[in-house]
Every structure is written in structure tokens, then in C-alpha cells.
């Protein structure tokens, strides 16, 4: 439903005429994020600063219009989709790194700063920002904080919430507040802690203070092949059980390795049932000792063709294969549906065999590329949207995989969020009382429900999902 002309005028006054988009053709660009569903917003507003964000939210609050924050639109759970219409609040004009403090080892950034840009900027001080989602070349720190994003190196370093020191936020009434900050303790409740990962349903994030880490003086990266995905899973558990927590421990199955090797020529062994990418860092003594220990555990668990990167270039190539794996899958099928779930690490063999069986049942190829050390799997269901009636099959297969994750004692999402995609599944893991506790938190922050409505909580009244594919746009779009 288009917004009232008077409301649009108020929004234009808040951010400037040229920063409000309301023509139906232009709005269509903002229909989707990187997930499977879409919905066209009624208006897109691009604020330049905190004061403008506050003004926009005040207008929205006055008229009870939904507000959906949007960064780079790389989210995988539909967090930025305006499922109830309303305003898409696009923060990409707010993209300044306001401060890097090399002494305190912190950075203060606006929400639209791209994840990798921050690490590049910090590199001149020999510092880095640890959370590294595979989309780090595009995704924003604001989006990372909203979703509590992870990445390969979160195994050792922790996810976004472990690195956010404080935030400036705008609440549903337009008020601006700082939550937490540089001090290690705060007085009162940890609002910052619950706002990180709240998927835009409790506040808008306008500034983020993050911790930067000293770059380790030495890094060792190893690629190892395994005859089967089960053997590789067993090896992952064995590494951790040996008391070693590597900086990263990533797995790719044969489908993935084939696509990656064809694309990157990184020397991945295409005959292997699965490969592991293991990285340790620290001072030279510890990387030597830890890598020797990792190699020995992998060898005892059927690891072969082990190859350690001999140069930074070689290391980057190995990582390019991992981080670009999903794009490379386009060689197999043009479209994919990337799922996210976490199981206890020891359940990896079971979940991967269940995922394989589900793929076979639905006659859909599945490629696995994931954070094995955390038990965080990412099955990619590959398909071609031009095939008739394929989407319901893809969705059913994904739902069955998640069900299997939950049945093994796992979680619905490790790093992509619940959003729109998984809200209906929340009762699989949480009781009505559990969900009621979360609902009370939502209501305490956003009594009128204007912040990103229709996300996280199951919606009994929700109509049949509107799949973006049906608009015909997604066929050209790169799904990832």
C-alpha cells in the first residue's frame, strides 16, 4: 500500500527529497535480500546520519508504519525484506569509519561500513576485525551487528557479539541512546548484548564501537583430503578433543570441491570425499607446534594429501576457494538455497548423511561448505529456477534438513538469523513460554511493533509465502 502523500513529504523533509525513493520501478530493486522471499517496500529512505534516522523513525512511529533496516542486502534469512510493507531504511550512506584507536584497539564505525573495509583500514596499525562472514567484501558492520554474524575465524575468535563493545541506537520512539561502551562492565542490564542479533526488531543501529585484535605474527594454513565426509567429520571432533582450538576449521564436500577447483584452480583434491581447511595462528613457535599436532590428528583420522600454504599468496588462494565456494556452485546449477543450522560437533556425521539422503529423495544436488569446528553446517540446495515447480521441492528439502538438525539437538541458525525464513520453525526449539519471554522483550522495546515486523516470531496469520522467483526477477539475479 503506497504511503500517504503527507507521510512521504514528512520523510522528504527528514532526509532530503532526493533520498526518498517511492517510484514503483525503483522500489522493486529493494524487494529482496539474499534470501528466497521478497516483498516490495512502500518507500526507501536513505538517511545520512543518526539525527535523520531518528527523524525517520519518529515519522514512522507517529503513523505506525513498519521500519526495516537495510545494509548491503546480503542477509540470508529475509531480515531486510519488508514483508509488511512500510519503509526500508537503507543505511549505506552512513559508511564512515569514524575512528580507529590503535592504543585502545577499538574502532568506531557507522553501520554502512563494509566488513572488509574495516579490516583493511585497521591493517595499517597491524590490527584486524575478527568476525569475517564469507560475504565480507559486501556485507556491512551494521548488518553484522543486527544479525550477530559469524564467519570461519569465529571458531577461535568468537562471533560479532563478542566484539561489539557498545552501540549508538535509535529506539522505536525515535530516541537516541548509547548502550555499553569501552568499559568492561556497565551498570544495569546489558541492553547492548540483547540488541546485537535482534535482527532489526528492537532498534536501529547508528554507530558501532568494536574491538580490534592484534594481527598474529604467524599463520599456518593446511588443506587436507579425506576419503569420506564422515571421516572428515570424525577428524574435526578429534582435533578439538585433542585440546586444539584452531583459528578456523572448515569443511567442503566433494560437490563443492569440484566446483571450486574448476573455478579457482587452488589445488583442491577433486577425488576426495571431503576436504578440511585448518588454520592456526599465534607466535611462530605456537603455529609450528599446533600445526604439527593438527597434522598428526588428521593423519590418524584418514587425512591425506595434506598441503600447507607456503606463502601468503597460496594461503589467500586456499581461502578464496573457501569464501568463493558458493559462487562457484553456479557451475552446477544457476540457483541455490543456502541453509544454516548448528548441531553438536559430534553429530556432524549423522546430520551430513541425513542431508545427503534428503537431497537424494528430492532429486536435488546438495553441496556442503561449512564451519565444521563449530558444528555450523551450510547445505546448499542447488536447482534451476526455470524448471517447473522446483521451488516448493527446494523449500521442503530445506525444511526437512532443519528438522533433522533440531532432532539432533541443534539450533535453527548459527549465523544467518531467523528472520522471515525460519520464524515458522521457532516452535520446534522453543516452548510457548520460551517464546513468550522473547515476546516480552520485544514489547518492552517496541510496544507498537513498528520495528521489522513479521520476523523471528511465528506468525499464525501469515499467508502463503510470496516467493520472489514468481516475479521473474530472480532468474536473472545471482542467488547466493
Amino acid at each position: 500500500m503506497p504511503l500517504d502523500k503527507a507521510v512521504l513529504e514528512e520523510l522528504r523533509r527528514a532526509v532530503g527529497r532526493e533520498h526518498v525513493i517511492d517510484s514503483s520501478n525503483d522500489l522493486r530493486i529493494f524487494e529482496r535480500d539474499a534470501s528466497i522471499e521478497g516483498a516490495v517496500p512502500d518507500a526507501v529512505v536513505l538517511p545520512a546520519n543518526t539525527a535523520e534516522v531518528s527523524s525517520v523513525i519518529r515519522v514512522a512511529a507517529k503513523h505506525r508504519i513498519p521500519v526495516v533496516l537495510r545494509g548491503a542486502g546480503t542477509g540470508l534469512s529475509g531480515g531486510a525484506v519488508t514483508v509488511r510493507g512500510g519503509i526500508a531504511l537503507q543505511v549505506t550512506r552512513m559508511r564512515r569509519i569514524l575512528e580507529i584507536d590503535p592504543i585502545a584497539q577499538t574502532a568506531l564505525v557507522e553501520p554502512g561500513v563494509v566488513n572488509q573495509e574495516l579490516s583493511l583500514a585497521a591493517a595499517s596499525h597491524r590490527l584486524f576485525y575478527a568476525p569475517d562472514p564469507s560475504s565480507q567484501k559486501a556485507c556491512t558492520i551494521g548488518g553484522n551487528a543486527a544479525e550477530n554474524s559469524g564467519g570461519p575465524h569465529c571458531l577461535y575468535y568468537g562471533v560479532t557479539t563478542n566484539h561489539v563493545l557498545g552501540m549508538e541506537v535509535v529506539f522505536a520512539d525515535g530516541s537516541v541512546q548509547w548502550v555499553s561502551g569501552d568499559a568492561p562492565e556497565r551498570v544495569g542490564l546489558d541492553l547492548c548484548g540483547v540488541l546485537v542479533g535482534s535482527e532489526g526488531t528492537l532498534c536501529a543501529i547508528t554507530k558501532i564501537k568494536v574491538r580490534l585484535l592484534r594481527m598474529p605474527p604467524s599463520v599456518a594454513t593446511l588443506l587436507a583430503a579425506f576419503p569420506t565426509i564422515e571421516a572428515a567429520s570424525q577428524a574435526v571432533s578429534a582435533v578439538i578433543a585433542a585440546g586444539i582450538v584452531p583459528a578456523a576449521l572448515e569443511m567442503m564436500d566433494q560437490v563443492c570441491v569440484g566446483a571450486v577447483e574448476a573455478h579457482y584452480h587452488a589445488g583442491y583434491p577433486t577425488d576426495a570425499g571431503a576436504v578440511l581447511l585448518a588454520e592456526v595462528d599465534g607466535i611462530p613457535e605456537s603455529t609450528v607446534e599446533l600445526m604439527a599436532a593438527v597434522r598428526s590428528v588428521l593423519a590418524q583420522n584418514q587425512g591425506y594429501a595434506m598441503r600447507e600454504a607456503q606463502s601468503p599468496v597460496e594461503r589467500d588462494l586456499l581461502w578464496a576457494g573457501r569464501k568463493g565456494a558458493i559462487g562457484a556452485l553456479g557451475r552446477i546449477k544457476p540457483n541455490y538455497y543456502l541453509h544454516d543450522g548448528v548441531v553438536p560437533r559430534s553429530k556432524l556425521p549423522q546430520i551430513l548423511s541425513a542431508v545427503g539422503e534428503i537431497g537424494t529423495h528430492y532429486k536435488l544436488p546438495v553441496a556442503n561448505v561449512f564451519h565444521a569446528g563449530d558444528g555450523n553446517l551450510h547445505p546448499n540446495i542447488l536447482f534451476d529456477l526455470r524448471e517447473r515447480d522446483v521451488l516448493p521441492q527446494v523449500e521442503s528439502a530445506g525444511e526437512e534438513m532443519l528438522r533433522a538438525v533440531v532432532e539432533l539437538g541443534g539450533a535453527l541458525s548459527g549465523e544467518h538469523g531467523i528472520g522471515l525464513e525460519k520464524s515458522a520453525f521457532m516452535p520446534w526449539v522453543y516452548s510457548p513460554d520460551d517464546l513468550d519471554a522473547m515476546r516480552r522483550v520485544k514489547d518492552a522495546f517496541d510496544a507498537h511493533g513498528i520495528m521489522n515486523p513479521g520476523k523471528i516470531f511465528p506468525d499464525p496469520e501469515r499467508k502463503v509465502p510470496h516467493l520472489a522467483g514468481r516475479t521473474g526477477l530472480a532468474i536473472e539475479a545471482k542467488w547466493w
Binding site: E147, G150, G158, N162, F171, Q177, W178, G181, D182, A183, P184, E185, R186, V187, G188, L189, L191, G193, V194, V196, G197, S198, R214, S237, I240, A241, A242, G243, I244, V245, G282, I283, E285, S286, E289, V342, V343, P344, R345, D374, G375, N376, G409, G410, A411, L412, S413, G414, E415, I418, M426, S431, D433, D434, A437, M438, V441, A444, F445, I456
Partner: protein
């Protein structure tokens, strides 16, 4: 004086929730107690409370060694949990002061940490699931038993350090850690505090950072290196301090001043606040995290003065222990944050009649 004549010691989480609900229905208040090690934290309760003891809830619910995840009931002591984890070479990196005897629920509610926070962070970073009893008698769970989870709101963060005001913690799940391959402790002693601070900073700047660095008001500095054998050996050699027995940490964990204030500062502001405490004051500090523990020799005026200076530099001073008169005079928390109205709304959503710890917390 607050009388706590009645004490309840429920045997199950369900029974605890029922007792809590009965108290709420009867218009009574409860004071949850685990090991009682942080019983003096906060302002004295505003009205009579029934003691609600969690110590009968002392089981390890599940320890999955391969997954390095443990779930426990809230009343288990930290020592009992560590003993269970040690059987498989694992541990929870939590070493609070006023030990031994803390329960897990008490530690989470009070938010107390120790020297190892430098390397491992606080339970905020490794608490992965929580179950709480609410005054309406319900039990609510958040998080789960996996190490990475963004399913729904992170209510673990809200309950951690909330002194039970959003619900009484009955169970918790943690990500645990492998015992380090090598664990070495070294110390250095200094006549001048200037030298002692320099020494602490030098330890912190080592290429393999120490897991803990503690600085004492008598000029002593303790540092702990965890890691692979050659790496720790090199750090110890490069630093050149005297090796001491790891028992130094056990002794340190017993510290518990009778009038105890926790100073928490942005890391590089800590020294200026601690330097101004006065020459005769006893304290110990963790210069890498920005936290100091102060054994307050003076009265409420001294606390208020330090609190003003700390607040101006972006930090806080919170009382962890003391006679109720002292806590009443100084105030346990200081100036509440600007977001107090939101915190109040959250509290009202879970405990509208302030049944749990009335008047004790900042909210």
C-alpha cells in the same frame, strides 16, 4: 535490618518456579541464594525476603565431552563443575574472587569474573543457554546447547549480571575449553608503583599475550601464559620474571575485602583512577581488562569521590560487598544509566511487582 526468617530449598526447577510464584501471589519477596558468596552485592533489600536457595539444584545435566558443552543446574558449585570437566581435560575459564563456594547461578546473576577474563572473556562470551524461573511460575529457556546460535533473542546477555531481577536462573549451558597444553605463572616485584605498571604493560604487550596479568597495590605483578610448550617457554624467557607455582592463583582467588568496590574503566583510564585512590589503599587490578578491586579503607564519601572521577572517564564503581549501612550510604551502583527507563520496562515485563531482590539492583 532485613529479616530472612523463612528459607526455601526447592529440589527441582519446577518446584523453585512454584515457590517463586506462590511468593509472588502472596505479595512476598524473595532473595535467591546460591553459595551466598555475593550476598552483599547491591543495595540492601527494600523489604523482607524469603530466602530461595538453589543449592539442591546441583546436578550436571549433561557434559558432552566431544562437543565441549556442559549443561548444569544453577546450584552446582564452580568447584564441583570444574572437577567434572577435569575428568576429560576440560575447564570453564572462570576464576572469581571470594572463592571457593560460588554456585554457577550465583556467578551468572552477580556477573563476577577473575583474572582469566583477560584471555577468555566473561561468561557473557561462553554462556550458550539459560533457563530461568519467572514470578508467574513459568520456566523460560533461551539459547541452546550448541556453540553458535542466533535463534531468537540472546536472553543470556540480559540475565547475566541482572542479579536475578528478570528471573531466577535454574540452569545454564556453557561452551567449555580444553586445558591448555602448558600453564606457566611468573611474577615480578617492584618498589615503585610506576615500575609495577610498566612491568604489567610489558607483559601485556608480549607477542603471545598472557592469559592473565594481575597488579597488586604492593607492587607485585603476576602473569600467566597458556599455550603450546615452546611458545610459553619463549614468552617466559623473553619476559625474564621469576617462575612461581600456579597455587598463587588459588590464593589470589580467595581475596574478598570486607568493604569491596569494583572499579571498571576503559582499559587506559584504569591507572589514573587507581593512582588516585591514595597511598595507603589496598587494591588489585587487571590492567589488561580495565578492572580493579578496591578494599575500601574509608567511608561512603571516598567511594562517591572515586565514583565521580570514574564516571567522568567513562567507567563505574560498584560495591560487591560491605556492611548494609556502608552500602546504603555509598549506594551500591552510583548514577543509573540514561537507558534506565528501558531497563525498568524490561523488569516490569518479567517481574512487575519486584518480587525478586526488591531494591537490590539498579533497576
Amino acid at each position: 535490618m532485613v529479616s530472612r526468617a523463612t528459607a526455601e530449598k526447592p529440589a527441582t526447577a519446577e518446584e523453585l518456579a512454584r515457590r517463586l510464584h506462590e511468593a509472588a501471589e502472596a505479595g512476598l519477596a524473595v532473595f535467591p541464594v546460591g553459595g551466598g558468596r555475593a550476598a552483599e552485592m547491591g543495595d540492601p533489600p527494600a523489604r523482607d525476603c524469603i530466602e530461595l536457595r538453589t543449592t539442591a539444584l546441583d546436578r550436571v545435566l549433561e557434559h558432552s565431552q566431544a562437543d565441549m558443552v556442559v549443561s548444569v543446574e544453577a546450584g552446582i558449585t564452580l568447584e564441583a563443575l570444574q572437577a567434572e570437566l577435569a575428568k576429560s581435560g576440560q575447564f570453564l575459564p572462570l576464576d572469581p574472587f571470594n572463592s571457593p563456594g560460588h554456585t554457577i547461578g550465583g556467578l551468572l546473576a552477580a556477573g563476577w569474573t577473575g583474572p582469566l577474563r583477560l584471555r577468555y572473556g566473561s561468561p557473557r562470551d561462553f554462556l550458550i543457554g539459560i533457563r530461568v524461573a519467572l514470578p508467574d511460575g513459568r520456566l523460560a529457556t533461551a539459547g541452546g546447547r550448541v556453540v553458535k546460535n542466533v535463534s531468537g533473542y540472546d536472553l543470556m546477555k540480559l540475565h547475566y549480571g541482572a542479579l536475578g531481577t528478570l528471573g531466577v536462573i535454574v540452569a545454564a549451558s556453557f561452551k567449555v575449553f580444553p586445558k591448555p597444553l602448558q600453564d606457566v605463572t611468573v611474577e615480578s616485584a617492584h618498589e615503585s608503583m610506576v615500575d609495577a605498571w610498566v612491568a604489567a604493560e610489558r607483559a601485556l604487550a608480549m607477542p603471545m599475550p598472557p592469559a592473565a596479568v594481575e597488579l597488586f597495590s604492593n607492587g607485585r605483578v603476576l602473569a600467566r601464559f597458556l599455550g603450546s610448550p615452546d611458545a610459553t617457554k619463549r614468552m617466559v624467557a623473553d619476559l625474564g620474571w621469576k617462575a612461581v607455582d600456579a597455587a598463587a592463583w588459588d590464593l589470589h582467588s580467595k581475596a574478598a575485602p570486607a568493604r569491596w568496590a569494583r572499579i571498571a574503566m576503559p582499559r587506559h583510564q584504569l591507572r589514573s583512577i587507581v593512582d588516585n585512590l591514595g597511598a595507603g589503599e589496598q587494591w588489585w587490578a587487571s590492567p589488561g581488562t580495565g578492572i580493579a578491586n578496591w578494599d575500601v579503607a574509608g567511608g561512603a564519601d571516598d567511594v562517591r569521590a572515586v565514583r565521580t572521577a570514574a564516571g567522568a572517564a567513562g567507567g563505574s564503581v560498584v560495591l560487591l560487598a560491605g556492611p548494609s549501612e556502608f552500602r546504603h550510604d555509598a549506594g551500591a551502583w552510583g548514577t543509573p544509566p540514561a537507558t534506565l527507563h528501558l531497563m525498568r520496562r524490561l523488569r516490569s515485563a518479567f517481574d512487575p511487582n519486584h518480587v525478586i531482590n526488591p531494591g537490590r539492583f539498579v533497576v
